[in-house]
Symmetry: C2
Subunit: 286 residues, 2 copies
Protein backbone atom coordinates (compact mmCIF):
# COMPACT_ATOMS: atom_id res chain seq x y z
CA UNK A 1 0.00 0.00 0.00
CA UNK A 2 1.50 3.26 -1.15
CA UNK A 3 0.02 5.55 1.45
CA UNK A 4 -1.95 7.71 -0.94
CA UNK A 5 -4.97 8.35 1.27
CA UNK A 6 -7.67 10.96 0.74
CA UNK A 7 -5.37 13.55 2.30
CA UNK A 8 -3.36 13.19 -0.92
CA UNK A 9 -6.29 13.63 -3.31
CA UNK A 10 -6.19 16.47 -5.79
CA UNK A 11 -8.90 17.34 -8.28
CA UNK A 12 -7.59 18.44 -11.63
CA UNK A 13 -9.75 21.26 -12.84
CA UNK A 14 -10.20 19.63 -16.24
CA UNK A 15 -12.34 16.94 -14.58
CA UNK A 16 -14.98 19.60 -13.98
CA UNK A 17 -14.26 21.40 -17.20
CA UNK A 18 -17.32 23.61 -17.18
CA UNK A 19 -16.62 25.23 -13.82
CA UNK A 20 -14.75 28.50 -13.50
CA UNK A 21 -11.94 28.70 -10.98
CA UNK A 22 -13.92 29.93 -7.99
CA UNK A 23 -16.61 27.28 -8.47
CA UNK A 24 -13.97 24.57 -8.76
CA UNK A 25 -12.27 25.81 -5.61
CA UNK A 26 -15.59 25.84 -3.74
CA UNK A 27 -16.30 22.32 -4.97
CA UNK A 28 -12.99 21.07 -3.53
CA UNK A 29 -13.66 22.77 -0.20
CA UNK A 30 -17.21 21.41 -0.07
CA UNK A 31 -15.96 17.85 -0.65
CA UNK A 32 -12.87 18.09 1.53
CA UNK A 33 -10.51 17.65 -1.39
CA UNK A 34 -7.30 19.25 -0.16
CA UNK A 35 -5.62 20.12 -3.46
CA UNK A 36 -6.38 21.23 -6.97
CA UNK A 37 -4.65 21.05 -10.35
CA UNK A 38 -5.16 24.32 -12.18
CA UNK A 39 -5.41 25.18 -15.85
CA UNK A 40 -3.93 28.35 -17.24
CA UNK A 41 -7.01 29.43 -19.18
CA UNK A 42 -9.16 29.31 -16.05
CA UNK A 43 -6.47 31.09 -14.06
CA UNK A 44 -6.23 33.82 -16.70
CA UNK A 45 -10.00 34.20 -16.66
CA UNK A 46 -9.95 34.85 -12.92
CA UNK A 47 -6.77 36.92 -13.06
CA UNK A 48 -3.48 35.52 -11.81
CA UNK A 49 -3.23 37.37 -8.48
CA UNK A 50 -6.91 36.90 -7.75
CA UNK A 51 -6.58 33.18 -8.57
CA UNK A 52 -3.57 32.80 -6.31
CA UNK A 53 -5.27 34.43 -3.34
CA UNK A 54 -8.56 32.63 -3.98
CA UNK A 55 -6.86 29.25 -3.80
CA UNK A 56 -4.71 30.26 -0.83
CA UNK A 57 -7.62 31.61 1.17
CA UNK A 58 -9.54 28.41 0.54
CA UNK A 59 -6.63 26.51 2.05
CA UNK A 60 -6.10 24.46 -1.10
CA UNK A 61 -2.74 23.19 -2.20
CA UNK A 62 -1.94 23.64 -5.92
CA UNK A 63 -0.63 20.30 -7.06
CA UNK A 64 0.05 21.36 -10.64
CA UNK A 65 -0.46 23.98 -13.27
CA UNK A 66 -1.48 22.71 -16.69
CA UNK A 67 0.27 23.40 -18.91
CA UNK A 68 3.34 24.53 -20.74
CA UNK A 69 5.02 22.89 -23.67
CA UNK A 70 4.09 22.65 -27.36
CA UNK A 71 7.73 23.38 -28.05
CA UNK A 72 7.89 22.17 -31.65
CA UNK A 73 7.47 24.61 -34.47
CA UNK A 74 8.33 24.97 -38.12
CA UNK A 75 9.86 28.45 -37.83
CA UNK A 76 11.88 30.68 -35.48
CA UNK A 77 8.88 32.91 -34.79
CA UNK A 78 6.88 29.91 -33.61
CA UNK A 79 9.75 28.75 -31.41
CA UNK A 80 10.13 32.24 -29.95
CA UNK A 81 6.41 32.47 -29.22
CA UNK A 82 6.48 29.08 -27.49
CA UNK A 83 9.48 30.21 -25.45
CA UNK A 84 7.74 33.38 -24.29
CA UNK A 85 4.56 31.51 -23.44
CA UNK A 86 6.48 28.95 -21.42
CA UNK A 87 8.35 31.60 -19.46
CA UNK A 88 4.97 33.13 -18.66
CA UNK A 89 3.71 29.71 -17.57
CA UNK A 90 6.68 29.29 -15.21
CA UNK A 91 5.94 32.70 -13.65
CA UNK A 92 2.30 31.75 -13.19
CA UNK A 93 3.26 28.44 -11.59
CA UNK A 94 5.57 30.31 -9.21
CA UNK A 95 2.91 32.80 -8.19
CA UNK A 96 0.35 30.03 -7.69
CA UNK A 97 2.80 27.96 -5.65
CA UNK A 98 2.16 24.96 -7.89
CA UNK A 99 4.13 21.79 -7.18
CA UNK A 100 4.82 21.42 -10.90
CA UNK A 101 4.28 22.96 -14.29
CA UNK A 102 3.05 20.16 -16.54
CA UNK A 103 4.68 20.13 -19.97
CA UNK A 104 2.93 18.63 -23.00
CA UNK A 105 5.84 18.84 -25.34
CA UNK A 106 4.27 19.04 -28.80
CA UNK A 107 4.05 16.76 -31.83
CA UNK A 108 5.95 16.72 -35.09
CA UNK A 109 6.77 20.20 -36.34
CA UNK A 110 4.18 21.24 -38.94
CA UNK A 111 5.15 19.93 -42.37
CA UNK A 112 7.80 17.60 -40.95
CA UNK A 113 8.05 13.86 -40.50
CA UNK A 114 11.27 14.10 -38.51
CA UNK A 115 10.74 12.69 -35.02
CA UNK A 116 14.38 13.25 -34.15
CA UNK A 117 14.13 16.92 -35.05
CA UNK A 118 11.00 17.36 -32.95
CA UNK A 119 12.63 15.61 -30.01
CA UNK A 120 15.70 17.84 -30.27
CA UNK A 121 13.45 20.91 -30.32
CA UNK A 122 11.84 19.68 -27.11
CA UNK A 123 15.19 19.07 -25.42
CA UNK A 124 16.50 22.47 -26.50
CA UNK A 125 13.38 24.25 -25.29
CA UNK A 126 13.49 22.55 -21.90
CA UNK A 127 17.17 23.45 -21.70
CA UNK A 128 16.24 27.10 -22.15
CA UNK A 129 13.35 26.94 -19.72
CA UNK A 130 15.04 25.01 -16.92
CA UNK A 131 17.17 27.92 -15.60
CA UNK A 132 14.07 30.14 -15.49
CA UNK A 133 12.22 27.46 -13.57
CA UNK A 134 15.12 26.91 -11.23
CA UNK A 135 15.42 30.61 -10.50
CA UNK A 136 11.74 30.88 -9.67
CA UNK A 137 11.64 27.62 -7.72
CA UNK A 138 9.27 25.88 -10.15
CA UNK A 139 9.62 22.24 -11.13
CA UNK A 140 8.92 21.42 -14.73
CA UNK A 141 7.18 18.10 -15.29
CA UNK A 142 7.77 16.37 -18.61
CA UNK A 143 4.68 14.33 -19.37
CA UNK A 144 4.92 11.31 -21.63
CA UNK A 145 1.70 11.10 -23.59
CA UNK A 146 0.25 7.90 -24.99
CA UNK A 147 1.88 6.99 -28.32
CA UNK A 148 -1.42 7.60 -30.13
CA UNK A 149 -0.73 11.31 -29.58
CA UNK A 150 2.87 11.16 -30.83
CA UNK A 151 2.26 12.82 -34.19
CA UNK A 152 0.13 15.74 -33.12
CA UNK A 153 0.54 16.43 -29.40
CA UNK A 154 3.66 14.96 -27.85
CA UNK A 155 6.67 13.27 -29.37
CA UNK A 156 7.68 12.14 -25.88
CA UNK A 157 5.69 8.93 -26.14
CA UNK A 158 6.95 6.76 -23.31
CA UNK A 159 7.96 7.30 -19.71
CA UNK A 160 11.49 6.15 -20.49
CA UNK A 161 11.96 9.04 -22.91
CA UNK A 162 10.64 11.52 -20.38
CA UNK A 163 13.06 10.18 -17.76
CA UNK A 164 15.99 10.27 -20.20
CA UNK A 165 15.18 13.90 -20.91
CA UNK A 166 14.65 14.92 -17.29
CA UNK A 167 17.98 13.39 -16.28
CA UNK A 168 19.77 15.91 -18.48
CA UNK A 169 18.78 18.66 -16.05
CA UNK A 170 18.99 19.42 -12.33
CA UNK A 171 16.42 17.46 -10.31
CA UNK A 172 15.12 20.57 -8.60
CA UNK A 173 14.16 22.07 -11.97
CA UNK A 174 13.02 19.20 -14.16
CA UNK A 175 11.12 16.01 -13.44
CA UNK A 176 8.45 13.84 -15.00
CA UNK A 177 4.68 13.60 -14.79
CA UNK A 178 3.27 10.09 -14.50
CA UNK A 179 -0.26 9.79 -15.88
CA UNK A 180 -1.72 6.30 -15.70
CA UNK A 181 -3.77 6.82 -18.85
CA UNK A 182 -0.65 7.43 -20.91
CA UNK A 183 1.72 4.81 -19.51
CA UNK A 184 -0.28 1.89 -18.11
CA UNK A 185 0.41 -0.36 -21.15
CA UNK A 186 4.20 -0.11 -21.02
CA UNK A 187 6.04 -3.33 -20.22
CA UNK A 188 8.97 -1.15 -19.12
CA UNK A 189 6.85 0.87 -16.72
CA UNK A 190 8.23 -0.62 -13.50
CA UNK A 191 11.85 -0.15 -14.52
CA UNK A 192 11.24 3.38 -15.82
CA UNK A 193 9.45 4.39 -12.62
CA UNK A 194 12.45 3.10 -10.68
CA UNK A 195 14.75 5.18 -12.90
CA UNK A 196 12.51 8.17 -12.18
CA UNK A 197 13.43 8.07 -8.49
CA UNK A 198 13.39 11.59 -7.10
CA UNK A 199 12.11 12.96 -10.40
CA UNK A 200 8.38 12.39 -10.24
CA UNK A 201 6.78 15.80 -9.80
CA UNK A 202 3.16 14.92 -10.50
CA UNK A 203 1.06 11.76 -10.44
CA UNK A 204 -2.18 11.90 -12.40
CA UNK A 205 -4.75 9.15 -12.54
CA UNK A 206 -7.75 8.14 -14.59
CA UNK A 207 -8.83 4.91 -16.21
CA UNK A 208 -8.56 3.53 -19.76
CA UNK A 209 -12.10 2.81 -20.88
CA UNK A 210 -13.09 0.72 -23.89
CA UNK A 211 -14.14 1.26 -26.55
CA UNK A 212 -12.11 4.34 -27.41
CA UNK A 213 -14.42 7.24 -28.32
CA UNK A 214 -14.31 9.03 -31.66
CA UNK A 215 -12.09 11.68 -30.09
CA UNK A 216 -9.38 9.63 -28.40
CA UNK A 217 -8.52 12.56 -26.16
CA UNK A 218 -11.74 11.87 -24.30
CA UNK A 219 -11.45 8.13 -23.65
CA UNK A 220 -10.78 8.51 -19.97
CA UNK A 221 -12.91 7.34 -17.11
CA UNK A 222 -13.34 7.34 -13.38
CA UNK A 223 -11.07 4.94 -11.54
CA UNK A 224 -12.58 1.49 -11.76
CA UNK A 225 -14.52 2.07 -14.98
CA UNK A 226 -11.71 0.72 -17.14
CA UNK A 227 -8.86 -1.76 -17.28
CA UNK A 228 -6.02 -0.12 -15.37
CA UNK A 229 -4.67 -1.88 -12.31
CA UNK A 230 -3.65 1.19 -10.29
CA UNK A 231 -2.22 -0.52 -7.22
CA UNK A 232 1.11 -1.69 -8.65
CA UNK A 233 1.65 1.60 -10.50
CA UNK A 234 0.98 3.65 -7.36
CA UNK A 235 3.27 1.42 -5.34
CA UNK A 236 6.08 1.97 -7.85
CA UNK A 237 5.44 5.72 -7.89
CA UNK A 238 5.65 5.79 -4.09
CA UNK A 239 8.76 3.61 -4.12
CA UNK A 240 10.34 6.17 -6.46
CA UNK A 241 10.01 8.65 -3.63
CA UNK A 242 6.90 10.50 -4.71
CA UNK A 243 4.89 11.70 -1.72
CA UNK A 244 2.92 14.50 -3.35
CA UNK A 245 -0.71 14.69 -4.37
CA UNK A 246 -2.54 12.33 -6.68
CA UNK A 247 -4.51 14.28 -9.25
CA UNK A 248 -7.65 12.83 -10.71
CA UNK A 249 -7.79 14.19 -14.24
CA UNK A 250 -10.58 12.91 -16.47
CA UNK A 251 -11.34 14.13 -19.98
CA UNK A 252 -14.72 12.61 -20.81
CA UNK A 253 -17.93 14.07 -22.18
CA UNK A 254 -20.15 12.12 -19.79
CA UNK A 255 -18.10 13.18 -16.77
CA UNK A 256 -18.19 16.78 -17.95
CA UNK A 257 -21.97 16.58 -18.39
CA UNK A 258 -22.50 15.21 -14.87
CA UNK A 259 -23.28 17.57 -11.98
CA UNK A 260 -19.90 18.60 -10.51
CA UNK A 261 -20.92 17.59 -7.00
CA UNK A 262 -21.74 14.14 -8.30
CA UNK A 263 -18.34 13.97 -9.97
CA UNK A 264 -16.58 15.04 -6.78
CA UNK A 265 -18.40 12.35 -4.80
CA UNK A 266 -17.41 9.70 -7.33
CA UNK A 267 -13.81 10.89 -7.37
CA UNK A 268 -13.62 10.52 -3.58
CA UNK A 269 -15.42 7.18 -3.55
CA UNK A 270 -13.16 5.67 -6.16
CA UNK A 271 -9.94 7.14 -4.83
CA UNK A 272 -9.04 4.08 -2.69
CA UNK A 273 -8.55 2.22 -6.00
CA UNK A 274 -5.37 4.25 -6.43
CA UNK A 275 -3.74 2.01 -3.88
CA UNK A 276 -5.71 -1.05 -4.92
CA UNK A 277 -7.25 -1.51 -1.49
CA UNK A 278 -10.84 -1.31 -2.64
CA UNK A 279 -12.87 -3.71 -4.71
CA UNK A 280 -13.42 -1.94 -7.96
CA UNK A 281 -16.15 -1.76 -10.55
CA UNK A 282 -16.27 -2.46 -14.21
CA UNK A 283 -14.90 -5.37 -16.13
CA UNK A 284 -12.09 -6.46 -13.95
CA UNK A 285 -11.99 -6.71 -10.23
CA UNK A 286 -14.14 -8.84 -8.00
CA UNK B 1 18.91 2.71 -49.44
CA UNK B 2 17.67 -0.63 -48.23
CA UNK B 3 17.14 -2.32 -51.57
CA UNK B 4 13.41 -2.88 -51.24
CA UNK B 5 12.48 -2.40 -54.88
CA UNK B 6 9.19 -3.32 -56.54
CA UNK B 7 10.40 -6.91 -56.80
CA UNK B 8 9.95 -6.98 -53.02
CA UNK B 9 6.41 -5.61 -53.00
CA UNK B 10 3.65 -7.70 -51.50
CA UNK B 11 -0.01 -6.77 -51.32
CA UNK B 12 -1.68 -7.77 -48.12
CA UNK B 13 -5.13 -9.01 -48.95
CA UNK B 14 -6.71 -6.80 -46.28
CA UNK B 15 -5.83 -3.77 -48.40
CA UNK B 16 -8.44 -4.93 -50.92
CA UNK B 17 -10.76 -6.26 -48.27
CA UNK B 18 -13.77 -6.76 -50.51
CA UNK B 19 -12.03 -9.07 -52.99
CA UNK B 20 -12.15 -12.82 -52.69
CA UNK B 21 -8.91 -14.74 -53.01
CA UNK B 22 -8.96 -15.39 -56.72
CA UNK B 23 -9.76 -11.76 -57.54
CA UNK B 24 -6.97 -10.59 -55.25
CA UNK B 25 -4.55 -13.00 -56.89
CA UNK B 26 -5.58 -11.78 -60.35
CA UNK B 27 -5.14 -8.18 -59.22
CA UNK B 28 -1.56 -8.89 -58.13
CA UNK B 29 -0.77 -10.61 -61.42
CA UNK B 30 -2.34 -7.79 -63.45
CA UNK B 31 -0.24 -5.19 -61.63
CA UNK B 32 2.98 -7.21 -61.50
CA UNK B 33 2.93 -7.43 -57.74
CA UNK B 34 5.01 -10.55 -57.04
CA UNK B 35 3.72 -11.51 -53.60
CA UNK B 36 0.60 -11.54 -51.50
CA UNK B 37 -0.23 -11.61 -47.80
CA UNK B 38 -3.18 -13.91 -47.25
CA UNK B 39 -5.97 -13.92 -44.65
CA UNK B 40 -7.31 -17.12 -43.24
CA UNK B 41 -10.99 -16.29 -43.74
CA UNK B 42 -10.45 -15.71 -47.47
CA UNK B 43 -8.33 -18.85 -47.71
CA UNK B 44 -11.04 -20.89 -45.98
CA UNK B 45 -13.63 -19.45 -48.33
CA UNK B 46 -11.65 -20.68 -51.34
CA UNK B 47 -10.65 -23.93 -49.67
CA UNK B 48 -7.11 -24.48 -48.42
CA UNK B 49 -5.80 -26.76 -51.20
CA UNK B 50 -7.51 -24.75 -53.89
CA UNK B 51 -6.09 -21.55 -52.44
CA UNK B 52 -2.59 -23.01 -52.32
CA UNK B 53 -2.67 -24.14 -55.94
CA UNK B 54 -4.34 -20.92 -57.11
CA UNK B 55 -1.56 -18.80 -55.65
CA UNK B 56 1.17 -21.18 -56.83
CA UNK B 57 -0.15 -21.34 -60.38
CA UNK B 58 -0.29 -17.57 -60.50
CA UNK B 59 3.41 -17.51 -59.61
CA UNK B 60 2.80 -15.47 -56.47
CA UNK B 61 4.92 -15.75 -53.38
CA UNK B 62 2.99 -15.88 -50.09
CA UNK B 63 4.70 -13.39 -47.81
CA UNK B 64 2.50 -14.04 -44.80
CA UNK B 65 -0.64 -15.63 -43.50
CA UNK B 66 -2.79 -13.46 -41.20
CA UNK B 67 -3.32 -14.52 -38.58
CA UNK B 68 -2.95 -16.61 -35.50
CA UNK B 69 -2.85 -15.48 -31.91
CA UNK B 70 -5.55 -14.22 -29.54
CA UNK B 71 -3.95 -16.43 -26.94
CA UNK B 72 -5.43 -14.83 -23.83
CA UNK B 73 -8.54 -16.27 -22.29
CA UNK B 74 -10.35 -16.39 -18.98
CA UNK B 75 -10.82 -20.15 -18.88
CA UNK B 76 -9.13 -23.42 -19.87
CA UNK B 77 -11.71 -24.06 -22.60
CA UNK B 78 -10.88 -20.75 -24.22
CA UNK B 79 -7.17 -21.45 -24.02
CA UNK B 80 -7.66 -24.90 -25.53
CA UNK B 81 -9.75 -23.49 -28.36
CA UNK B 82 -7.08 -20.89 -29.11
CA UNK B 83 -4.44 -23.61 -29.08
CA UNK B 84 -6.36 -25.75 -31.58
CA UNK B 85 -7.03 -22.78 -33.82
CA UNK B 86 -3.36 -21.79 -33.82
CA UNK B 87 -2.22 -25.31 -34.67
CA UNK B 88 -4.64 -25.18 -37.60
CA UNK B 89 -3.20 -21.83 -38.63
CA UNK B 90 0.34 -23.24 -38.61
CA UNK B 91 -0.79 -26.12 -40.85
CA UNK B 92 -2.43 -23.67 -43.22
CA UNK B 93 0.71 -21.52 -43.35
CA UNK B 94 2.76 -24.62 -44.14
CA UNK B 95 0.48 -25.71 -46.96
CA UNK B 96 0.42 -22.19 -48.41
CA UNK B 97 4.21 -21.89 -48.17
CA UNK B 98 3.84 -18.60 -46.30
CA UNK B 99 7.02 -16.91 -45.11
CA UNK B 100 5.40 -16.27 -41.74
CA UNK B 101 2.29 -16.79 -39.69
CA UNK B 102 1.46 -13.41 -38.19
CA UNK B 103 0.44 -13.56 -34.53
CA UNK B 104 -1.79 -10.93 -32.96
CA UNK B 105 -1.42 -12.08 -29.41
CA UNK B 106 -4.61 -10.92 -27.70
CA UNK B 107 -5.51 -8.33 -25.07
CA UNK B 108 -6.24 -8.62 -21.38
CA UNK B 109 -8.07 -11.80 -20.51
CA UNK B 110 -11.80 -11.05 -20.22
CA UNK B 111 -12.62 -9.79 -16.75
CA UNK B 112 -8.97 -9.25 -15.85
CA UNK B 113 -6.78 -6.19 -15.41
CA UNK B 114 -3.62 -8.24 -15.06
CA UNK B 115 -1.20 -7.36 -17.87
CA UNK B 116 1.42 -9.69 -16.45
CA UNK B 117 -0.99 -12.61 -16.52
CA UNK B 118 -1.96 -11.88 -20.12
CA UNK B 119 1.68 -11.63 -21.14
CA UNK B 120 2.47 -14.94 -19.47
CA UNK B 121 -0.45 -16.56 -21.29
CA UNK B 122 1.01 -15.30 -24.56
CA UNK B 123 4.49 -16.61 -23.77
CA UNK B 124 3.09 -19.99 -22.71
CA UNK B 125 0.97 -20.29 -25.84
CA UNK B 126 3.86 -19.45 -28.13
CA UNK B 127 5.96 -21.96 -26.23
CA UNK B 128 3.38 -24.62 -27.05
CA UNK B 129 3.04 -23.55 -30.65
CA UNK B 130 6.73 -23.15 -31.50
CA UNK B 131 7.54 -26.89 -31.75
CA UNK B 132 4.57 -27.39 -34.07
CA UNK B 133 5.77 -24.53 -36.23
CA UNK B 134 9.32 -25.80 -36.22
CA UNK B 135 8.23 -29.27 -37.23
CA UNK B 136 6.22 -27.93 -40.14
CA UNK B 137 8.84 -25.37 -41.19
CA UNK B 138 6.66 -22.36 -40.42
CA UNK B 139 8.00 -19.20 -38.82
CA UNK B 140 5.76 -17.54 -36.28
CA UNK B 141 5.84 -13.75 -36.32
CA UNK B 142 5.03 -11.97 -33.08
CA UNK B 143 3.53 -8.64 -34.00
CA UNK B 144 3.73 -5.74 -31.58
CA UNK B 145 0.55 -3.74 -31.95
CA UNK B 146 0.26 -0.05 -31.18
CA UNK B 147 -0.26 0.56 -27.45
CA UNK B 148 -3.76 1.87 -28.12
CA UNK B 149 -4.72 -1.77 -28.76
CA UNK B 150 -3.08 -3.09 -25.62
CA UNK B 151 -6.27 -3.67 -23.63
CA UNK B 152 -8.37 -5.40 -26.25
CA UNK B 153 -6.17 -6.83 -29.01
CA UNK B 154 -2.53 -7.26 -28.11
CA UNK B 155 -0.71 -6.93 -24.82
CA UNK B 156 2.57 -7.02 -26.74
CA UNK B 157 2.61 -3.26 -27.20
CA UNK B 158 6.16 -2.46 -28.27
CA UNK B 159 8.72 -4.00 -30.56
CA UNK B 160 11.07 -4.51 -27.64
CA UNK B 161 8.58 -6.83 -25.96
CA UNK B 162 8.09 -8.81 -29.15
CA UNK B 163 11.86 -9.21 -29.51
CA UNK B 164 12.25 -10.24 -25.86
CA UNK B 165 9.60 -12.89 -26.41
CA UNK B 166 10.96 -14.15 -29.74
CA UNK B 167 14.45 -14.54 -28.26
CA UNK B 168 13.10 -17.19 -25.89
CA UNK B 169 12.65 -19.53 -28.85
CA UNK B 170 14.67 -20.92 -31.77
CA UNK B 171 15.13 -18.36 -34.53
CA UNK B 172 13.87 -20.75 -37.17
CA UNK B 173 10.52 -21.02 -35.39
CA UNK B 174 9.80 -17.62 -33.87
CA UNK B 175 10.50 -14.10 -35.04
CA UNK B 176 8.83 -10.71 -35.07
CA UNK B 177 6.63 -8.78 -37.46
CA UNK B 178 7.52 -5.13 -37.92
CA UNK B 179 4.55 -2.98 -38.92
CA UNK B 180 5.33 0.70 -39.33
CA UNK B 181 1.86 1.74 -38.19
CA UNK B 182 2.35 0.11 -34.83
CA UNK B 183 5.95 1.02 -34.03
CA UNK B 184 6.88 4.26 -35.83
CA UNK B 185 6.52 6.40 -32.68
CA UNK B 186 8.95 4.40 -30.55
CA UNK B 187 12.13 6.21 -29.49
CA UNK B 188 13.66 2.77 -28.96
CA UNK B 189 12.79 1.59 -32.47
CA UNK B 190 16.32 1.68 -33.88
CA UNK B 191 17.83 -0.23 -31.00
CA UNK B 192 15.02 -2.79 -30.95
CA UNK B 193 15.32 -3.37 -34.70
CA UNK B 194 19.03 -3.98 -34.18
CA UNK B 195 18.20 -6.48 -31.42
CA UNK B 196 15.79 -8.15 -33.84
CA UNK B 197 18.66 -9.10 -36.16
CA UNK B 198 17.84 -12.38 -37.87
CA UNK B 199 14.39 -12.44 -36.29
CA UNK B 200 12.32 -10.23 -38.56
CA UNK B 201 9.96 -12.51 -40.45
CA UNK B 202 7.60 -9.93 -41.93
CA UNK B 203 7.75 -6.23 -42.70
CA UNK B 204 4.41 -4.50 -43.15
CA UNK B 205 3.93 -0.89 -44.10
CA UNK B 206 1.23 1.73 -44.14
CA UNK B 207 1.06 5.32 -42.98
CA UNK B 208 -0.26 6.99 -39.80
CA UNK B 209 -2.89 9.44 -40.95
CA UNK B 210 -4.37 12.23 -38.84
CA UNK B 211 -6.92 12.72 -37.49
CA UNK B 212 -7.55 9.25 -36.14
CA UNK B 213 -10.94 7.97 -37.31
CA UNK B 214 -13.71 6.93 -34.92
CA UNK B 215 -12.56 3.34 -35.27
CA UNK B 216 -8.84 3.55 -34.60
CA UNK B 217 -8.29 0.23 -36.33
CA UNK B 218 -8.94 2.03 -39.59
CA UNK B 219 -6.63 5.03 -39.30
CA UNK B 220 -4.15 3.75 -41.84
CA UNK B 221 -3.27 5.28 -45.13
CA UNK B 222 -1.29 4.84 -48.30
CA UNK B 223 2.40 5.56 -47.97
CA UNK B 224 2.91 9.31 -48.12
CA UNK B 225 -0.56 10.25 -46.86
CA UNK B 226 0.58 10.46 -43.26
CA UNK B 227 3.49 11.30 -41.03
CA UNK B 228 5.72 8.23 -41.08
CA UNK B 229 9.27 8.61 -42.37
CA UNK B 230 9.72 5.13 -43.85
CA UNK B 231 13.29 5.43 -45.09
CA UNK B 232 15.13 5.13 -41.78
CA UNK B 233 12.83 2.34 -40.57
CA UNK B 234 13.34 0.34 -43.77
CA UNK B 235 17.09 0.86 -43.58
CA UNK B 236 17.14 -0.50 -40.04
CA UNK B 237 14.94 -3.45 -41.03
CA UNK B 238 17.34 -4.25 -43.86
CA UNK B 239 20.36 -3.79 -41.59
CA UNK B 240 18.79 -6.37 -39.28
CA UNK B 241 19.11 -8.85 -42.11
CA UNK B 242 15.58 -8.81 -43.45
CA UNK B 243 15.51 -9.40 -47.18
CA UNK B 244 11.96 -10.65 -47.60
CA UNK B 245 8.90 -8.96 -49.00
CA UNK B 246 7.42 -5.66 -47.91
CA UNK B 247 3.70 -6.00 -47.41
CA UNK B 248 1.45 -3.03 -47.92
CA UNK B 249 -1.41 -3.54 -45.48
CA UNK B 250 -3.96 -0.76 -45.20
CA UNK B 251 -7.13 -0.87 -43.11
CA UNK B 252 -9.10 2.17 -44.23
CA UNK B 253 -12.70 2.62 -45.33
CA UNK B 254 -11.79 4.95 -48.20
CA UNK B 255 -9.15 2.58 -49.52
CA UNK B 256 -11.60 -0.31 -49.26
CA UNK B 257 -14.22 1.71 -51.15
CA UNK B 258 -11.81 2.54 -53.99
CA UNK B 259 -11.68 0.37 -57.13
CA UNK B 260 -9.08 -2.34 -56.41
CA UNK B 261 -7.15 -1.57 -59.60
CA UNK B 262 -6.85 2.02 -58.47
CA UNK B 263 -5.59 0.86 -55.10
CA UNK B 264 -3.01 -1.42 -56.72
CA UNK B 265 -1.74 1.43 -58.90
CA UNK B 266 -1.39 3.70 -55.87
CA UNK B 267 0.36 0.97 -53.89
CA UNK B 268 2.93 0.57 -56.68
CA UNK B 269 3.36 4.32 -57.20
CA UNK B 270 3.95 5.00 -53.54
CA UNK B 271 6.15 1.99 -52.89
CA UNK B 272 9.44 3.86 -53.49
CA UNK B 273 8.64 5.81 -50.30
CA UNK B 274 9.49 2.64 -48.41
CA UNK B 275 13.14 3.40 -49.02
CA UNK B 276 12.65 7.16 -48.87
CA UNK B 277 13.91 7.70 -52.40
CA UNK B 278 10.78 9.38 -53.71
CA UNK B 279 9.35 12.77 -52.91
CA UNK B 280 6.18 12.06 -51.00
CA UNK B 281 2.80 13.62 -50.70
CA UNK B 282 0.86 14.90 -47.78
CA UNK B 283 1.96 17.12 -44.97
CA UNK B 284 5.61 16.35 -44.76
CA UNK B 285 8.03 15.83 -47.56
CA UNK B 286 9.12 18.30 -50.13
Amino acid sequence: VSGFGLERLSLNQATVKHLGLSSAVELCVRHEIPAIGLWRDRVAEAGLSAAASLVRQAGLHVSSLCRGGFFTSADPEGLAAARADNVAAVREAAELGADALVLVCGGLAPGSRDLGLARRMVADAIGELAPVAQELGVRLGIEALHPMFCADRCVIASLGEAVDLALLFPAEAVGVVVDTYHVWWDARLAVELARAAGRIVSYQVCDWVLPLPADVLLGRGHLGDGVIDFGPISAAVAAAGYDGYVEVEIFNHDVWAAPPDHTAVTVRERFPLVTGVMTGRGSGRG
